[in-house]
């Protein structure tokens, strides 16, 4: 098998997605920790368009954008456990919600960190609404099973769950829980099940670590 390298940073939810997916599929790879303030030649060469992580390099083929990488992994390593559902409609639903997370939910979450006062309140509100939408979607997508993907974690579980440390840290630092028993009962239970998965335990950063990151971001912007 050609070599597999993952360029990333261990705290990035987008990188965590790829790590979880590779572990779920039992695929061995080499992890290269990047310093995002001093990006490597390899990163700049492999992702010249965005210069971001994660980048998966399979042989001499670089693939960028976490959701593109997840689908690539599933298709290039088609023996064994599939991350995407097999049915075309279920696949469409999984892609739709993964896209929603990246285009709507993540910008709201990031907005909480980058704003203050009234603007921050709005971003928190948006994030809570987004989580509620996802909670509602969980009911029809999971079809009574533990995960979005069914009995085992799949594409949408990974796309969403990679943000859990970040989401929980936001709850601690800003005092507003986005996922809880009352507002998002299904996601609340799903979090517990998701975190029990071995690939998740190994790769999801500790919430305390992310709390420290958020606090230092707040301090830095308060000083500016």
């Amino acid at each position: 098998m050609s070599s597999l390298k993952l360029l990333g940073t261990r705290r990035s939810p987008f990188v965590v997605r790829v790590q979880i997916a590779l572990d779920v599929k039992g695929i061995k790879y080499e992890f290269h920790e990047e310093n995002l303030s001093a990006k490597s030649e390899l990163l700049l060469k492999s992702n010249p368009v965005f210069k971001k992580v994660p980048v998966l390099i399979h042989g001499d083929h670089p693939i960028s954008e976490s959701l593109v990488i997840l689908q690539y992994i599933d298709e290039a390593f088609s023996a064994g456990h599939q991350i995407l559902p097999s049915n075309p409609y279920d696949r469409a639903i999984a892609r739709f919600w993964a896209s929603y997370i990246d285009e709507k939910l993540f910008p709201s979450l990031r907005g909480i960190l980058r704003s203050e006062g009234e603007e921050r309140k709005n971003k928190i509100e948006e994030s809570i609404e987004g989580a509620a939408l996802l909670d509602n979607a969980f009911v029809s997508i999971s079809k009574g099973k533990k995960f979005f993907g069914g009995e085992t974690i799949g594409f949408l579980d990974i796309a969403a769950g990679s943000f859990l440390a970040f989401i929980e840290a936001i709850g601690i630092v800003y005092g507003e829980k986005l996922i809880d028993e009352v507002k998002t009962p299904h996601l609340f239970k799903w979090v517990h099940d998701f975190r029990s998965d071995l690939a998740v335990k190994v790769n999801l950063p500790a919430t305390e670590e992310i709390v420290e990151v958020l606090i230092s971001i707040s301090k830095a912007s308060a000083q500016n």
Binding site: I63, V68, P88, Y89, A92, R95
Partner: protein, 231 residues
């Protein structure tokens, strides 16, 4: 899951490039469908029920199953109807490249292209710069992906051709209204040639909007939505 033979409805809106993508794909696969034009200023029950999250077009309704987001719909069409030409390439790495560039187009390039029309002054300058950079990038990517052939996908149109091609009429309009030519013979000669091939393709020609009609529509939405300096 809906079978091949279940009804196909497309909730669309005249002049929407994202809806155009779906029309191309349905044509390519020779899928019969009913086009239900939406009035986006007074959204129908059906639209609100089928796309409660975004309330936007296009929405493909297969049997009674709605699929939203144009890139998701294109892949759904390719996977639900396996007969006929494949829209996405078959090789996993080529698929990854097609998805990557589609994502770049929707998240970076098209917003700056649209921005040229809908902004003024410094903002417009920035949008023009970004859109021109985007065109240069796509010119390079076309050379790499087409490998000497007519389209991004090879000898026949595919995913990325459809994703980008839907915007060609709009780029034409922007060139006329704002004087910015994004695809031209000198700066992007290969894209220029590709654009000619694409617009003459049988799956595409019948759906391309009339440029004069599109100009009128563009002026109308500029008047309606563009923030003016005097506000």
């Amino acid at each position: 899951m809906a079978s091949h033979s279940a009804d196909v409805k497309l909730l669309g809106a005249k002049f929407s490039p994202f809806v155009l993508r779906i029309l191309f794909a349905l044509n390519l696969k020779s899928i019969k469908y009913e086009l239900i034009e939406q009035d986006l200023r007074s959204k129908s029950e059906l639209l609100l029920k089928s796309n409660p999250v975004h309330k936007k077009v296009p929405v493909l309704i297969h049997g009674d199953l709605p699929v939203c987001e144009s890139l998701v719909i294109l892949q759904y069409i390719d996977e639900a109807w396996t007969h006929g030409p494949q829209i996405l390439p078959s090789d996993p790495y080529d698929r990854a490249l097609a998805r990557f560039w589609a994502s770049y187009v929707d998240e970076k390039w098209f917003p700056s292209v649209r921005g040229i029309m809908m902004s003024d002054g410094e903002d417009q300058k920035k949008n023009i710069e970004e859109a021109i950079e985007g065109a240069a990038l796509m010119e390079e990517s076309f050379l790499a992906l087409s490998n000497g052939r007519k389209f991004f996908a090879g000898e026949r149109i595919g995913f990325l051709d459809i994703v980008i091609g839907c915007c060609l009429p709009w780029m034409d309009v922007i060139s006329r209204i704002c004087g910015v030519k994004l695809i031209d013979e000198i700066k992007t000669p290969n894209l220029c040639k590709w654009a000619q091939e694409f617009t003459s393709d049988p799956a595409v020609t019948e759906h391309m909007p009339d440029v004069d009609e599109l100009m009128e529509y563009a002026k109308y939405i500029i008047a309606l939505y563009k923030p003016t300096a005097t506000n």
